[in-house]
Symmetry: C3
Subunit: 142 residues, 3 copies
């Protein structure tokens, strides 16, 4: 039977380019509803966070944080900050570039990620946040 099912995931973050491995949560969601074949769409509503994959190990987490700070620095002048005074212009630009959506195929009830490939939420905002991640399953159930 083909089904589209929308679930969600609550994640507490520290902001400031906090990088969080959400793969275990995604695997758990996939199991709960007996999906066999299809795709998982992961989406973060909001404009200061984004999703991608990485080999989740401490060295690369530091590399990504240093990389973002060099590429799109926090303390540059942003027009957004002049209007809104919330100081998170950098976070908006970073998440527009990385984008809020990621789709992962699954086959025989298993996400087709590489062995050293984890799905990460990056929260770029300049404060702690509670994020609600949308996880939508589409495909055939058993």
């Amino acid at each position: 039977m083909i089904k589209f099912l929308t679930k969600s995931l609550e994640i507490d973050t520290n902001g400031f380019t906090d990088i969080i491995d959400i793969t275990p949560h995604l695997r758990k969601i996939l199991k709960e509803d007996n999906y066999k074949e299809g795709q998982m769409l992961v989406f973060v509503p909001g404009s200061t966070a984004a999703l991608t994959t990485v080999e989740y190990e401490p060295g690369l987490q530091t590399d990504l944080k240093e990389f973002f700070e060099e590429w799109i620095p926090m303390n540059k002048r942003y027009h957004h900050n002049e209007a809104w005074h919330d100081g998170n212009g950098y976070a908006h630009v970073r998440s527009s570039m990385l984008k809020p959506s990621l789709t992962i195929p699954f086959h025989e009830a298993r996400l087709l990620l590489g062995t050293w490939q984890q799905v990460i939420l990056i929260d770029f905002d300049n404060r702690r946040r509670n994020r609600t991640i949308v996880v939508q399953l589409a495909g055939e159930t058993q």
Copy 2:
């Protein structure tokens, strides 16, 4: 009933990293066909435009334009320009990085975007363009 439905959207742009909020058009398309649960795939055919989300306010529009010009400048030397003499090498590189596709989940007939998160088309080309955006709905209709 599960349906896949392919629609399109015509957008006139000014080129030169023109940033256009297409969210109202996407909401209208979602309503037209009574979709309840599923996902909307937005795709821009062509290699000098791309899609992402942003808080659509004038400050961030300027921030994004300045950011792209600093990151991937128009007037650098591009091998593409030497062969094709159309001067839009920068536009190709920018859109390859941002990518032409975005998938947004919907639930109870509502796109699950954040309150301050709009879907934008960025047209990087160095002339006015008429763009045809593909909007494909997949999911359950009422």
Copy 3:
């Protein structure tokens, strides 16, 4: 009839930001199973390669390679390299930024790509690789 079907594609690469046009393979896969309306999800398992689209011509291939080398250089200091000594920290950061997934809509059994828009696999790793690309079809078959 609506179907989700997971196929795969073997691609040999030279690594070192090798850029490979996989569009002909994707068109072939679409034809094999008589899909009419829907979407093709392309996904590269692994954390040192990524997918996007580009006008596939030699000038832009060189532009992209030079661009990546300037943006995220191979020979910078990466914390990943200090821990793992495999020297491909740059490849991890590049592929996290470009992301491993791309979804392309199709209509009347034809991928809705632009005429000068090809789907490319970029292998950033610092050695030759054999990549297995996941190609998942979702939609209506004839």
